[in-house]
């Protein structure tokens, strides 16, 4: 998929942010944090997994997802998010 197709989804960006924060999470908890339903969440997870950006581990019926830290795409997005949030913080302190 093209970069604009993968990253244009608000939920997918949010999934990446969540996994960046907490490390590892199962599907229903990701869904709860997104405020989305299970099927939708699952669909987005599938896209990210197909892109090699996240990894899945299966324990019986439990699926745990985490970032694939060795993927350059993931690294790039992690960078993007960090820079973005840093800049936002700077902005709020400057505007004081």
């Amino acid at each position: 998929m093209n970069v604009e197709d993968v990253l244009s989804s608000r939920l997918r960006m949010k999934i990446l942010k969540i996994l960046m924060q907490v490390g590892e999470l199962n599907v229903s908890k990701i869904a709860r944090r997104l405020g989305a339903n299970y099927t939708t969440t699952d669909k987005h997870l599938k896209v990210l997994e197909d892109e090699g950006m996240i990894k899945r581990k299966l324990f019986g019926r439990i699926r745990l997802y985490r970032l694939n830290e060795s993927s350059p795409k993931t690294q790039a997005v992690q960078n993007l998010i960090t820079v973005w949030e840093h800049a936002n913080k700077q902005h709020t302190t400057n505007s004081w």
Partner: protein
């Protein structure tokens, strides 16, 4: 009065969570544990171990296994073996096998969900995780009683038999079960019991001298130099010994005594601090017991209380208490009773548990009786007795 600095150097050394490097009088058991697990360090995939540790309250079961855990991990790291020691207090998880195993799983996967599967599935998940990470664990189930009480035999059986049914796979989980009394596991069915009862290490109650050694070691690391005299340690050990040899009681008492010393700005943990601390722990000696004493018994006891209040010692000789009694008699302007009668009074006081009498060694000076005030503060006692005696002044 110039305030003294605190008597404590490092209070955390008296915490229940502190695991000392040296455990006086438990070296044999520590060595035994190491031997039991020796082969696990040699052929970790082939074998696992199951140990039961029993012993009364405060005999060092928990601290022994934690010390062992730290030592065995150090050794495993040295040999490049992937081994973790995991200590779980079953009571904290209300004895639920599911919650206990969940806790272990979440050490490896911190956000592991709590819902949607059974304890048995979770156990298999744990094995899968350990296979993935090529890790072995020694799982200590402390206060194992609560697991036995909450779960049935089947659950315990699952826990112990789990890996035996995994053919041709490496062994992963060794168990140390800690419980006060073996009787508890009699509730389990025979086959479950037989999987558990292989190696049993029983910790005997500590004797007074052993408690002295344990306390002395703590004094060195927790208190400033020369703030805790020998008598204080001896009295504390004595009290811990009469509480079934409970080392925890002794350590806590020592800590409280230090708090009293600080509160009084005395810069020294005296035996009286220990007595005050003890009476804050025990129910205070019942005032009705004191009131029912006869007048000379009261005066004798008052003498004993004053003696301890003034001299900062833990033990008194019979002569010393007789002298103190004579002074009280002078004050109340009565004739002192005879030595033989005082002996009887002493027996009464000791039967009531107010004083403690002991016959000391058969040294060159012959046998002599030593007297201590184990459970009450001399100060409290003197206050109470003075009041009572005021009322019935002859």
């Amino acid at each position: 009065m110039a305030p003294y600095p605190s008597v404590f150097k490092d209070e955390t050394k008296l915490d229940i969570s502190y695991v000392p490097y040296k455990l006086p009088h438990r070296d044999r058991e520590l060595r035994l544990l190491m031997e039991f697990f020796g082969f696990l360090l040699r052929v970790p995939d082939k074998m696992t171990q199951r140990i039961i540790i029993t012993g009364d309250v405060g005999t060092g079961k928990t601290v022994l296994s934690q010390r062992f855990g730290a030592n065995v991990i150090r050794e495993a790291n040295r040999q490049g073996i992937n081994l973790r020691y995991i200590h779980v207090n079953c009571r904290e998880y209300r004895g639920s096998l599911f919650l206990i195993v969940h806790h272990v799983v979440s050490i490896f996967h911190p956000n592991f969900p709590r819902r949607g599967y059974s304890a048995e599935e979770l156990l298999n998940i744990l094995l899968q995780i350990l296979d993935d990470q090529k890790t072995h664990i020694i799982l200590t189930l402390d206060e194992f009683e609560s697991l036995v009480e909450r779960e049935n035999s089947e659950a315990v059986y699952k826990l112990t038999r789990l890996q035996e049914i995994r053919l041709n796979k490496p062994q992963r989980i060794s168990l140390i079960c800690i419980l006060r009394n073996l009787k508890v596991i009699e509730k389990l069915d025979a086959s479950t019991r037989s999987t558990l009862q292989s190696n049993i290490i029983h910790l005997k109650r500590y004797l007074k001298q052993q408690l002295v050694d344990i306390l002395n070691n703590r004094v060195l690391v927790a208190f400033k130099h020369l703030t805790v005299p020998e008598d204080t340690v001896s009295l504390t050990a004595e009290l811990a010994f009469s509480e079934n040899g409970n080392a925890r009681f002794g350590i806590e008492l020592l800590w409280r005594a230090g708090k009293y010393a600080d509160a009084e700005n005395s810069g020294m943990v005296t035996p009286e601090c220990v007595r005050k601390a003890a009476s804050s722990i025990y129910a205070v000696t019942r005032k009705s017991d004191l009131a029912s004493l006869r007048i000379h018994e009261k005066m004798f006891l008052l003498g004993i209380a004053r003696f301890f209040e003034q001299c900062e010692k833990a033990y008194a000789s019979l002569t010393e208490t007789e002298q103190a009694y004579a002074v009280v008699c002078e004050e109340f302007d009565v004739q002192p009773h005879s030595h033989t009668q005082l002996w009887k009074y002493l027996r009464t006081l000791s039967a009531l548990g107010i004083v403690k009498t002991e016959v000391s060694g058969t040294g060159s000076r012959g046998r002599s009786t030593i007297i201590s005030l184990p459970r009450v503060s001399a100060y409290e006692l003197e206050k109470e007795l003075s009041l009572l005696l005021q009322k019935e002044k002859p």
